[in-house]
């Protein structure tokens, strides 16, 4: 009888515990529901559907029609013939490969300078961070004024110094390209700096975000390491190369990955400065803009989805490559 009472109590306790867990789960799900709904409706569903659409012909108006690999074949064909997406890939690569390393080099340099114990340090820090809080649309319009080849501030200053004045957003020329090496490219006062180089310059304007992270990381480096290096006779450059830089590599790696993703997905500022079409002469037609025009101007949603998946794959490969190679240069401390 006693045994029977004990097992009944145990069952009752287990049932109470189960009800408690169930109620707890419902409460948790209730609180998380806005996020869960958002995740399912705005992320998972579009993610899956865009994969399906990339194998379809779909114009938003009529139902999607399955066409197999046709969209991917078109992408392959364009890459082979150097048209369409090939152009966008070149423009995107050019922008990312110049803007990301430059923003890292300048960001680290600036953070190192701003971490020095100087008068007005906080004012300089604020000034360099300030551009990061300006909305991208306002900053883009500001840069269009600054880089106006006829009477923009930048060219006015260059002109008053007797220097040559680039055409910035008005020219499809490229500083880093085979064409720029020809003599003709430099003739008629028309050296090859153009729209993409102007975009790179624009991107450096917002590097304050990354600079703040470097500043925090530099502040976290133990002073004892610098003291030890100083005792060993290391000068400022040696201390920077042998102490600061190795200990910053995890942060540099983080900013490298984030910067790469951001630059490859850049859209708003490019849409604004390129008349929404990659002007002049497709020189600012990056992948995200090509995707947008394909989807919403040419009503080619299936092809645009394939472009989105190509972009996803390229970013995945680039990120994997960075992670793989990071073992060689990122300092992770003593394990």
């Amino acid at each position: 009888m006693q045994h029977h009472a004990d097992s009944s109590d145990i069952a009752e306790t287990a049932s109470r515990e189960s009800r408690r867990r169930w109620r707890s789960w419902i409460t948790a799900a209730g609180f998380a529901s806005p996020w869960l709904v958002g995740l399912l409706a705005l992320f998972i569903y579009p993610f899956v559907v865009s994969l399906y659409w990339s194998f379809c012909q779909y114009d938003l108006i009529n139902p999607p029609r399955f066409v197999g690999m046709e969209n991917y074949q078109q992408l392959a064909n364009e890459i082979a013939t150097g048209t369409g997406i090939a152009h966008a890939l070149w423009n995107t690569g050019y922008y990312a490969l110049l803007s990301v390393p430059l923003s890292i080099i300048l960001g680290v340099g600036l953070a190192t300078l701003l971490s020095c114990d100087i008068r007005g340090q906080s004012i300089f820090r604020t000034l360099f961070y300030l551009p990061s809080v300006i909305p991208v649309v306002a900053a883009s319009i500001l840069w269009m004024w600054l880089l106006n080849p006829a009477d923009g501030l930048v060219n006015s200053v260059l002109g008053s110094l007797g220097l040559w004045q680039p055409q910035w957003f008005a020219s499809p020329a490229e500083l880093v390209s085979p064409d720029s090496l020809t003599e003709a490219a430099w003739a008629n006062n028309s050296a090859p700096i153009g729209s993409k180089d102007a975009l790179v310059l624009m991107s450096l304007w917002g590097m304050g975000n990354f600079m703040v992270i470097y500043l925090a990381a530099i502040g976290d480096i133990p002073k004892s390491l610098y003291e030890a290096a100083r005792i060993d006779g290391a000068g400022p450059i040696r201390r920077f190369v042998n102490v600061t830089l190795p200990l910053l590599t995890p942060i540099i790696f983080f900013n490298l990955v984030m910067g790469l993703i951001q630059s490859v997905q850049a859209f708003t500022q490019i849409y604004i400065v390129s008349e929404g079409r990659g002007a002049p002469a497709d020189s600012t037609l990056v992948i995200s803009l090509h995707l947008f025009l394909s989807a919403f101007q040419h009503l080619n949603m299936g092809y645009a989805s394939a472009v989105a998946w190509l972009l996803f794959a390229l970013l995945g490969i680039a990120t994997w490559f960075l992670f793989t190679t990071s073992r060689r240069w990122v300092y992770e401390g003593v394990r």
């Binding site: 806005p34 108006i61 106006n148 006829a150 020329a173 020809t182 079409r277 002007a279």
Partner: protein, 458 residues
């Protein structure tokens, strides 16, 4: 978990539910219109892109239409900005499109081909369609005809002509150009090539986007509708592009880019002709209003009043007179519209078809728009307007010309439009001597492939 924490969880869920319901309920209030549609009328929902002063004109047309009606009631909804197309697609996909839409991109054929808009013969009677074809200017008819069916009606035409600063030309002993050679002479006289300092003035500089206008002037066509072939490599189009690129050779791509970009920084985007940056500029009929305001301002300041002219694009040997590129804003009726018949009645009222020319003339005068039919032009109200604005006459004469062509009305037209502009832009800004025949050949193949694909869709 105790009872109180469980209660708190339930309360949180209840609060979220109340907030959700509240948001849904407020939608009704937030989107409620202040327009009261009479109960005995059928509502016609009209989406358009006009903002600013033009919006008031649109609303006045709707008001006049509503006063003239006892069956339909038009409710205009302004959607200025870039995303009207996207909103439209979503409304069609969602099954709740407007009854009438006004667009200004070359998308008629694309949308008609995909079944997003109705052909006019699905709404109007065969007799109405037949009479409308004759009633419209040829340029207006071309803008909305796809595979021999009308898919909309333009509410006004955009025509390009050359504006000439006659006072500036007189200073150099020059007069308005009649031929391409005259235009080149003006350019070289006012801005002699090889100047070492940055140019402050130019006689004329071709804008790469205007290849669509110069192509027909040189006697060319971009597309042959009889066999569906892109004809960019035709000798006439190549001649037009070669002539435009000759300005690149004369002044250098850098100078052209620099000078053109400077136009954008003029205060309030002032018409560059006023600042004497150019002596001759290609632009649309809306500049007539700006010129009038500028001259009035000069007179009020007791300054010498600058004299202007508006002339057809000058023609090269073998070219076509009164030719150019026509564009327009078009009324289209979405498939699935609830009040398509009411939409058609409003289109007729606005454009002046079926004996409503007087009302249309009033609308065109108010907006400074070019009518789509000679019958509206002939109205006394519009003739009086032309007497007051003589520069506008040139645009009206060009609107009636057989040689005004739009971007080909075919599926894939937006791509065609962009690629042709890009081609001319690349040629004119190339740092190397451009190989025009090769560039035209490559662009032709690329565009052909894209429009074949667009045509075969659905």
């Amino acid at each position: 978990m105790n009872a109180s924490s469980s209660l708190r969880g339930m309360l949180a869920i209840a609060l979220i539910a109340v907030l959700g319901i509240g948001l849904l309920a407020s939608q009704q209030w937030l989107t409620a219109s202040d327009v009261q549609v009479p109960s005995d009328r059928e509502e016609v929902v009209f989406w358009h892109f006009w903002g600013g002063a033009d919006r008031a004109i649109v609303e006045d047309v709707a008001k006049r239409f509503n006063e003239s009606q006892n069956e339909y009631y038009v409710r205009p909804i302004a959607m200025p900005g870039n995303n009207l197309d996207l909103k439209f697609f979503l409304s069609v996909t969602g099954g709740d499109p407007p009854d009438l839409l006004n667009i200004d991109d070359p998308v008629i054929a694309d949308w008609g081909h995909r079944g997003a808009i109705l052909a006019l013969d699905e709404v109007a009677t065969p007799d109405e369609v037949e009479r409308l074809q004759v009633w419209l200017f040829p340029a207006a008819r071309r803008l909305v005809t796809y595979e021999n069916r009308l898919y909309g009606v333009p509410n006004g035409l955009d025509i390009r002509a050359l504006y000439v600063n006659k006072t500036m030309l007189a200073r150099y002993g020059l007069s308005s150009p009649k031929t391409i050679a005259d235009l080149d002479h003006i350019a070289e006289t006012i801005a002699p090539p090889g100047q070492s300092k940055p140019y402050q003035h130019h006689g004329y500089l071709p804008d790469s986007r205007r290849i669509w206008a110069w192509g027909p002037v040189f006697g060319g066509r971009f597309y042959d509708s009889s066999d569906g072939q892109v004809t960019l490599t035709s000798p006439e189009i190549e001649s037009a592009l070669t002539w435009m690129v000759s300005y690149r050779d004369r002044y250098g791509p850098s100078e052209i880019a620099r000078f053109r970009h400077g136009d954008q920084s003029l205060p309030g985007k002032t018409f560059p002709l006023f600042a004497e940056r150019y002596a001759v500029v290609m632009d649309g009929q809306w500049r007539v209003h700006d010129i009038r305001a500028f001259q009035k301002s000069q007179a009020e300041k007791r300054e010498e009043v600058t004299q202007f002219d508006a002339i057809p694009l000058p023609v090269p040997p073998g070219g076509k007179p009164n030719a150019g590129w026509v564009n327009g804003n078009n009324f289209v009726i979405p498939r699935g519209a609830n009040a398509s018949r009411g939409a058609w009645e409003f289109i007729k009222f606005w454009c002046g078809f079926d004996g409503q020319e007087a009302a249309a003339a009033k609308t065109c005068v108010a907006g400074g728009w070019i009518p789509v039919s000679q019958h509206v032009v002939d109205e006394p109200t519009f003739q009086q307007f032309l007497d007051e604005e003589p520069l506008f006459r040139t645009f009206i004469e060009l609107a009636g010309s057989e040689n005004q062509y739009p971007v080909p009305v075919i599926p894939g037209a937006p791509y065609f439009n962009n690629e042709v502009k890009n081609l001319a832009e690349s040629a004119m800004s190339s740092p190397k001597e451009p190989d025009l025949p090769q560039m035209l050949k490559e662009a032709e193949a690329r565009i052909q492939s894209q429009i074949d694909r667009a045509r075969n869709e659905q």
